[in-house]
């Protein structure tokens, strides 16, 4: 048997893995996007708790960010994947189901990525809120805006503008972290490359291709982020 060349692997033909790898890349993006969204929601609440929550809420949010930034992401994935499976199995037993039920890897992965990135989101949002000028909020109060109107028209857009660079960084981290979800067996980009490496005996080629695809995704998203930053700071004078 002759081994396929590097570019044969990238073709759509019978020897080609292009279709499978693209599907994997799509799955990677889906995991990263869902994790990122979950993280953004957690981060919004976390930042709110840290800024205007009572003492209990503040302590809880501080504990959350400290813990999640101090332990490896891989542990969180293990916790949710195995812990989730154990929980589901015992729930299943209550309803008379026998044997082991495994927690869906995608859900465990997205949740784990979301929970870890939530800690970073919290800090990004909190820092961005701090950068909003008191004067803007005072002016809004002086105009007679209600709390919700103030948040919607003044605080949220300004915070978002200051948060954009930080949000871009978090996205890059989340994208790379999504590779860890491959241990749950979800066929994302890295898992697909492992499968390809196993069945062709060409691990170097496959992991190289995977690396290039990750590089492409992160490059495209950093260009998009830069565009967004430019668009949302139209009203700011630049030196």
């Amino acid at each position: 048997m002759t081994q396929p060349g590097f570019f044969d692997l990238l073709s759509f033909g019978p020897d080609g893995w292009a279709k499978a790898l693209l599907a994997g890349a799509w799955m990677t993006i889906l995991i990263a996007l869902s994790g990122y969204t979950i993280g953004a929601v957690i981060g919004t609440f976390g930042a709110w708790a840290k800024i205007s929550g009572g003492k209990t809420l503040r302590v809880a949010a501080d504990a959350y960010t400290t813990v999640l930034r101090g332990i490896p992401d891989l542990l969180v994935i293990y916790l949710l994947y195995f812990g989730g499976s154990a929980a589901i199995t015992s729930i299943g037993r209550l309803f008379g189901a026998d044997g082991f039920i495994s927690f869906p890897g995608f859900l465990a992965g997205a949740l784990a990525v979301g929970i870890t990135s939530g800690a970073q989101h919290t800090e990004v949002f909190r820092g961005a809120f701090k950068a909003v000028h008191r004067g803007e909020i005072e002016a809004a109060i002086a105009c007679g805006m209600s709390r919700s109107l103030r948040f919607r028209r003044i605080i949220a857009p300004l915070t978002l503008r200051h948060a954009l660079p930080g949000l871009g960084n978090v996205w890059q981290v989340v994208l790379k972290e999504s590779a860890l979800v491959s241990i749950t067996g979800v066929v994302e980009l890295l898992r697909q490359s492992q499968i390809g490496a196993g069945s062709t005996g060409l691990p170097f080629d496959f992991y190289l291709i995977a690396g290039l695809i990750y590089l492409a995704i992160s490059t495209v998203s950093s260009i998009a982020m830069r565009q967004a930053e430019r668009r949302f700071s139209r009203g700011v004078r630049r030196g």
């Binding site: 930034r69 891989l74 542990l75 293990y78 916790l79 195995f82 790379k176 490359s193 690396g211």
Partner: protein
């Protein structure tokens, strides 16, 4: 929570701690040397070196660490030339592959931190040193590097913490460090929460100590920013009056 099980888990996880620490320490040390070289290449003004360092940082920061580990551990063995070379005993060993991937990876992040430190050294300091007649190397050793290290230290502390966290990925290529042992116990017993709490506690403890250590070094390295002790006491006495 089952106390006996928690204790057993703690004992087996702590016995894996030396491996985690040695992975992290080796990778951070090797990575720091490489990072310094990369930062110097970036600031050298020599176009080829500059672009090499840029490309290196771009590639290693743009791809997941796990892909880099797999590329070195599984990927390199694809080539017969590697398998028959004198490096094979090293490249066959999961531990050294993990160390290599971690070092190469942290070097990319740390080089940017060090570069920031190097750029922050005020020009006047260098000029003064030159005016004193110091040769280039001595200016670098006595003036630029100490100031740059002081400036880069807080950022470098964060990078060291992420390296401690990153050693957990070595468990995926069969290395039984803390996360590896934790994963084994979880998959044997399915008691994820207890094991997670114990393992998380160990990592938090390491990172807490590391943060404190960096703060201590930072304090020692910045005597010029502190008030002299007796001056501080005098100020307090003055306030009391």
């Amino acid at each position: 929570m089952d106390w006996e099980f928690t204790q057993e888990t703690f004992v087996s996880l702590v016995s894996a701690l030396p491996l985690t620490l040695s992975l992290a320490a080796t990778a951070i040390t090797l990575g720091a040397i490489l990072a310094l070289a990369l930062a110097l290449a970036r600031t050298s003004g020599i176009l080829v070196l500059d672009w090499f360092a840029r490309a290196y940082v771009f590639v290693f920061r743009g791809t997941p660490l796990l892909v880099q580990i797999f590329l070195i551990y599984y990927g390199l063995s694809q080539f017969p030339a590697v398998r028959h070379s004198i490096f094979w005993p090293v490249l066959r060993d999961a531990y050294w592959c993990a160390v290599m991937a971690l070092s190469l990876n942290t070097a990319a992040y740390a080089s940017e931190i060090i570069r920031g430190g190097l750029l922050s050294v005020p020009h006047g300091q260098v000029e003064a040193a030159r005016a004193c007649g110091m040769p280039r190397l001595m200016v670098f050793r006595r003036i630029v590097l100490p100031l740059a290290i002081r400036q880069a230290l807080p950022g470098y502390g964060n990078e060291m913490i992420s390296m401690i966290k990153a050693t957990s990925l070595a468990s995926i290529i069969t290395i039984m460090e803390v996360t590896g042992v934790a994963a084994r116990i979880i998959s044997e017993t399915y008691r994820a929460i207890e094991v997670f709490v114990v393992a998380g506690f160990i990592y938090l403890a390491i990172n807490f100590l590391l943060t404190r250590l960096v703060q201590l070094v930072e304090f020692k390295l910045s005597p010029h920013l502190r008030q002299p002790e007796n001056a501080a006491q005098m100020a307090i006495a003055g306030d009391a009056r």
